[in-house]
Amino acid sequence: MTNSNPIERLLKRGWTLTIAALLSLVAVYVRVVYFTPVESTQGPAQKIFYVHVPSAWAALVAFAVTGIVSLLYLKRRDEKLDTIGAASAEVGLVFGAVMLTTGPIWGKVIWGAWWAWDAKLTSTLFLYILFVGYVVLRGAVVDPEMRARFSAVVGILALILVPFIYFSVNMFRTLHPEPPVLRSGGPALPGSMLLTLMLSVVVFSVLYVGFLMVRYSLSVLKDLREKRAADGIS
């Protein structure tokens, strides 16, 4: 019983942070729509950038956390690390879904195509599939210790795989002339746009931390309850 208190506090703090982040997100959107200038060549379509880029950022941070935590788990065998990795992977999938849906919406308007086999798109797509696999694998292993080890192995392999996917697709692209619409000329953002983007990135990062705290504490509470139920039976 004494053990559950700090976790319940963490859960409460996670919820507070999440709600605060969601409210700030509303504020950021208001700024995006009303107080940030419209981009001259792309028009209003460019506004999705303030959702797409931060969610991609949050997803990649989440997957990187899972990878690093997996490495640490195999060293230290602390089940907390495994729970953090699992929580981060699930949260990453949520942000990844936002990234993978907002991207094509923008692409359809600007490139004229929903999808392009560009290095970034392809590597994030397969990274996403890999973490779907990670979560599915967790669901298919019953023993918690075995589940932790298996998912750590997949997490580490994922960490090694990312640069390879990126380079392989990049090389495919560079062998072919790049369509002019795809060329990203590294746009130097005007101050107000950059500020909006940065605000959005900060809010998405806080949202990630909030989600992670909630998901983590819920997993710990679920494990505790299962353990208690199992003790009750025996």
Binding site: L74, T122, F126, L127, I129, L130, V132, G133, V136, L137, A140, V141, V142, M146, R149, F150, A152, V153, V154, I156, L157, A158, I160, L161, F164, I165, F167, S168, V169, M171, F172, L175
Partner: protein, 227 residues
């Protein structure tokens, strides 16, 4: 130590191949599957618009990867029966050797499937494979080593999950992307009689993928079987 590692690997591989030789179930299903995929690819196109050569490299690599995936799980599924894996693990042999043996067995299995598929491919698609054959075999070997090693490690885990057969493709797919994209690119060039030296970038990618993942899998195997 080194010799016992190699001995373990060779005896594990020999045992697995002997079992496969006596039943031939995985082998037969892989070959039949390969023929089916090649046929579907051939009939999927309008023969007057798309030439055989345009579709041949992808047909070949879809066949190779899918047909091999059918066999990959077998190496560890064999050990699940009567919990034979426990017997292997409590003996005093290096576990890395056991993994190496499983990889060698799978490599031999996939190599045979590929060596049978390749002439069938040349026959069905009417592509000239004789002239680029040595280079084609070398590239195939590099890409095969990559996905068989990762696939074997993953299968050591997935055979102990609830949906073993379904889980391997889900987990293995992202790992197939770099080696297979590379292999398809090089195969397309080779079939068009371009020299292998045109593809040094892809070859470097394949080689570094092989090195990175063979090393990582050898190190990580311990974590998949310890209990």
């Amino acid at each position: 130590m080194a010799s016992s590692l190699l001995n373990t690997a060779l005896s594990v591989a020999a045992k697995d191949l002997r079992i496969e030789w006596r039943t031939k179930t995985a082998f037969a299903s892989s070959i039949v599957f390969a023929v089916l995929v090649l046929a579907i690819f051939y009939f999927s196109r309008d023969t007057t618009v798309v030439s055989e050569l345009d579709i041949a490299p992808s047909a070949l690599w879809v066949t190779f990867t899918f047909a091999s995936m059918l066999g990959l799980n077998r190496a560890f599924l064999l050990e699940q029966e009567n919990r034979a894996i426990d017997a292997i693990l409590i003996t005093d042999v290096p576990r890395t050797g056991v993994f190496l043996g499983k990889v060698l067995g799978n490599l031999a299995f996939v190599a045979v499937v590929e060596l049978i598929t390749l002439p069938l491919f040349a026959l069905f698609f009417n592509v000239p494979i004789l002239r680029p054959l040595p280079a084609l075999l070398a590239v195939t070997a590099m890409a095969t080593l990559a996905f068989v090693t990762v696939g074997t490690l993953l299968s050591a885990m997935v055979v102990r999950t609830r949906f073993a057969e379904l889980m391997l493709p889900v987990l293995l797919l992202p790992f197939l992307v770099p080696p297979v994209i590379g292999a398809v690119q090089i195969t397309a060039g080779l079939l068009a009689y371009r020299p292998l030296s045109d593809f040094s970038g892809w070859l470097r990618l394949l080689a570094s993928f092989d090195i990175a993942f063979v090393a990582a899998c050898l190190l990580l195997f311990d974590a998949t079987v310890e209990e």
